[in-house]
């Protein structure tokens, strides 16, 4: 296509590529299990302004006030009550956004918490004992306990999503709007009605329900193949108005196809793979800016401490240390990920600076050293076998013996189930296998699609058949994405639902509890140092969420990481 013509046209529009093979499939601002992809969240955030939005637009993770509906959040001195004031905004039909809309959401969620994808026992909405509307734009939330306020704001209150009570508080399409949400049974019916409307994707761009919005954009077209066209919401009266008239969000079936589209200039905003970083210059020469976008995430491989064969071996800290010493995170990040991954040495995301990061984690307690790894093993009663695999030769729990539960003749042979479909991951596993083998540890890698890896990495008891997994990797684009306040009780807590390998450390449990329930955030730093040393998992380089390619002149993409903020995008005026 003619470049002159396209640049004239793109002034008022942007075409953006959804992540590969992903399409939006859930419009309702109330999330539903199985439909929680970040691109659904992006779309939601653009259509319905969230109460409190957190992102990295300010350079580090923080409250993005422009994108939020809340003007202020104030905690009572005892920390049990929060008073929240809303901005003066209105719905697309002109009705003002009020405290009632917050109450509406809260009522629906309370009555249907098990059907709300973000629900975790003992968290939102259980922590809210009382809702009280002070006036139409101010309300008070009373909590059941004292919590860390950072945590409350960023991880809990940020879930609150005011929705148009005046339009949605009904039980059917033709039903009258009432105050049904105020009874439990009514709230159930309303919830069911809204969510069932969301099951009809074909009506996403026509259903009047979804037309009552208050975000900077509205949906123009939505096709089942995943192509979404956003149009500027002319009635938007918030602080985060859109610049560009039309935003086209396009689905892609493969990275190759997407990169080809970039190469031929069909996209304004896309992404490239890490290995395509080798062609950075080519892309830059054809008018793109290449920016790696690190996610607020960590990447790791959980050990299965309950594995009947290797559980006892993994329980030995020196073994975990030896493994960690064998992982050359620097080279992997630089060569395999072409500099787009960030080495990670502990439980706190390291991509951007954060107050929670300990010095211990930052400075990598277990730098790459095959010699150290080998020495750790040999000094604990392991002998290198003729095939290069270490074998436990002195049994016992003494200083220089293998340790509890490890039998004589045990071979250091580990099965790893790794995510497939990425050259970078394949190469990384190849490298890790190779380094471990130099240290006397044999790694058998089997790869499978990420979902299959997850399915085969369950929390399990040693007696169960599905407990035969030993080491697992599902982090091609990061293993765990944190809410803004990066507590790890769900992955490293003894009973954490996503603590697949049953890591258990009472000290860590206590620190994590403290990080949530005390006003003081220093527990997070201690927790960072403890886990960086105790190695609950194999720490791995954290790949970026994506390497963005933006057309020269397209500005305002800084806040976009996993979620996008198209309202911030704009074309540079003089060009």
């Amino acid at each position: 296509s003619d470049p002159a013509e396209s640049s004239a046209e793109t002034k008022n529009s942007v075409s953006y590529a959804w992540p590969v093979s992903q399409t939006p499939n859930w419009i309702s601002p109330i999330s539903s299990a199985g439909h929680t992809s970040t691109i659904n969240a992006s779309l939601n955030q653009v259509l319905w302004t969230p109460l409190i939005e957190f992102n990295t637009s300010g350079g580090s993770m923080g409250w993005d006030k422009e994108a939020s509906l809340a003007k202020s959040v104030e905690f009572s001195p005892d920390g049990r009550v929060a008073t929240i004031t809303l901005k003066d905004m209105s719905w697309s039909d002109g009705v003002p956004v009020t405290s009632r809309d917050v109450e509406f959401w809260l009522n629906l969620i309370k009555a249907n918490k098990e059907n709300w994808a973000n629900y975790v026992d003992g968290r939102m909405p259980d922590i809210i004992k009382k809702f009280e509307a002070v006036n139409s734009s101010t309300f008070k939330l009373t909590f059941d306990d004292v919590y860390n306020q950072d945590w409350l704001k960023s991880n809990q209150l940020s879930f609150i999503q005011p929705i148009p009570q005046h339009a949605w508080d009904k039980k059917s399409d033709s039903g009258a709007v009432g105050n049904y949400d105020r009874t439990e049974s009514g709230a159930k019916k309303v919830f069911e009605y809204i969510q069932s409307e969301a099951k009809d994707m074909a009506s996403y761009d026509t259903n009047p329900l979804w037309k009552t919005t208050n975000g900077p954009y509205k949906i123009d077209t939505f096709t089942s193949s995943g192509k979404v066209v956003l149009a500027k919401n002319k009635k938007y009266d918030g602080t985060d108005a859109a610049h560009i008239e039309t935003v086209k969000l396009l689905p892609f079936t493969s990275v190759e196809a997407e990169q080809n589209a970039l190469r031929s200039g069909e996209l304004d905003y896309g992404y490239i793979t890490a290995s395509a970083m080798a062609q950075k210059e080519t892309f830059e020469a054809s008018g793109y800016k290449i920016t790696p976008k690190p996610g607020w995430s960590i990447t790791y491989m959980p050990y299965n401490f309950n594995n009947p064969k290797m559980g006892d071996v993994f329980s030995q800290l020196y073994v975990r240390q030896a493994i960690q010493h064998s992982i050359d995170q620097k080279s992997i990040s630089e060569v395999i990920w072409q500099g787009t991954a960030e080495p990670g040495y502990g439980p706190i995301p390291q991509g951007s600076d954060s107050p929670y990061l300990s010095e211990v984690q930052k400075n990598n307690p277990y730098p790459y050293s095959i010699d150290k790894a080998k020495k750790l093993l040999t000094s604990h009663g392991w002998k290198m076998g003729s095939d290069g695999v270490a074998v436990c030769s002195s049994v016992g729990t003494g200083e220089n013996e293998c340790g509890e539960g490890i039998e004589k003749g045990t071979r250091l042979e580990i099965k790893l189930l790794a995510q497939s479909g990425s050259t970078e991951t394949d190469n990384m596993m190849n490298e890790i296998r190779s380094s471990l083998s130099k240290a006397g540890i044999k790694l058998d890698v089997k790869s499978a699609p990420v979902n299959s890896v997850l399915s085969q990495t369950p929390r399990c008891k040693p007696s169960q058949k599905q407990c035969d997994w030993q080491l697992s990797f599902f982090g091609t684009s990061g293993s765990w994405y944190f809410p803004p306040y990066p507590t790890g009780e769900r992955i490293f807590g003894t009973d954490g639902p996503s603590n697949f390998g049953h890591y258990s450390n009472p000290k860590a449990d206590r620190l994590m509890q403290k990080a949530v329930s005390s006003k003081d955030s220093s527990a997070m730093v201690k927790y960072s140092a403890l886990l960086a040393k105790d190695l609950p998992v194999v720490w791995m380089p954290n790949p970026v969420y994506q390497v963005s390619a933006t057309r020269e002149g397209l500005k305002g993409t800084a806040a976009d990481v996993d979620e996008i903020y198209p309202q911030r995008w704009h074309w540079e005026t003089q060009k």
């Binding site: 098990e114 994707m201 031929s264 069909e266 699609p449 979902n451 299959s452």
Partner: protein, 318 residues
């Protein structure tokens, strides 16, 4: 009457085959380790959500019950709802199938339009230099993996020559897609190359077989020229064996379409299937496999019917 009975019998066989397919596929699905719940709900899902997911989809029931329930729904025309895509499987298939069909039919048509004359030409010029060259070319085309062919075509025709766009048409309806013929060239060519390679070989062999038949000699004795013998007699007779091959080629065409769809950003059945398999999205997987197997069965049924049409003997001798 005989034809009718023949068709009836073949349809009966086809139903048995499709039934067998559902059993096999259902059984195989449950060999997949771990089940679908955790994979679909993601790393962050809670055990409660996983349990709810399983219960809601009946995944905690015995396999036989699950199968019978599935069959029951299937007989009512209900293919179920995708675990992942928030849409009924039937809708998904109705949306994607026409696209894949369009691509497959176009590439099969283009491929055959080239392959058949090419095969005849090779038989005509057999064991001459032009036959050797074409044979070698068709070997090479056959031996080149589709993903490689596609890449080469993209590099040459979009990067070097800029003749065609690297992406297939984006339209949602058949009409939209057809209105962008330039974007169809590369995907169709990629898919057609394999067909050309394979079917020109078949056609060559089939033509040679027919050329050695007695009726060709009779035709020559009538004073019919070579060209006319090929056109009037051999071509049609050679088609009978080609149609059978075509019927069985449908699954291969489908497998090829997966690669083409990925390479050229064309969301069709192949991709639907592939993504469902990664999830694993059981209802979609089952639906896709069912549709593909029905397509294959219908394909070979059609091939048989075409045979009946081309070859009057089949009506009576089967």
């Amino acid at each position: 009457m005989e034809t009718f009975r023949f068709i009836l019998k073949r349809v009966g066989q086809s139903v048995v085959v499709v039934f067998l397919v559902t059993i096999v596929v259902f059984a195989l699905l449950h060999l997949l380790p771990g089940g679908p719940a955790r994979g679909i709900l993601g790393v962050q899902a809670t055990p409660e959500q996983i349990a709810a997911f399983k219960e809601k989809r009946g995944l905690d029931e015995p396999l036989v019950i699950q199968y019978l329930e599935y069959l029951g729904r299937l007989l009512q025309g209900d293919l179920g709802r995708s675990y992942v895509l928030n849409a009924p499987v039937a809708d998904l298939i109705i949306d994607r199938l026409p696209k894949t069909l369009l691509l497959s039919v176009l590439s099969a048509a283009v491929g055959l339009m080239i392959a058949l004359p090419l095969g005849i030409w090779q038989a005509y010029k057999r064991n001459r230099p032009s036959d050797y060259v074409l044979t070698s070319l068709s070997f090479v085309a056959y031996a080149t993996p589709v993903f490689f062919v596609g890449l080469i075509l993209i590099i040459v025709f979009t990067q070097w020559l800029s003749w065609f766009p690297p992406l297939a048409p984006r339209g949602d309806s058949i009409a939209d897609i057809l209105s962008d013929p330039q974007a169809l060239v590369l995907p169709v060519t990629t898919a057609a190359l394999g067909i050309i390679a394979l079917f020109s070989r078949y056609m060559r062999a089939s033509t040679l077989d027919n050329l050695s038949e007695d009726y060709v000699r009779t035709a020559a004795a009538k004073g019919t020229s070579e060209g006319q013998i090929l056109a009037r007699h051999v071509f049609r007779n050679s088609l009978t064996s080609i149609t059978t091959m075509l019927g069985y080629y449908i699954p291969v065409l489908f497998a090829g379409s997966l690669v083409v769809e990925q390479l050229f950003n064309y969301p069709g059945m192949g991709l639907l299937f592939w993504n469902a398999a990664q999830a694993p999205d059981f209802p979609v997987l089952l639906g896709c496999v069912l549709i593909i197997s029905i397509a294959t069965v219908i394909g070979s049924l059609l091939a048989d019917l075409v045979q009946v049409f081309i070859d009057p003997r089949v009506r009576h001798s089967s």
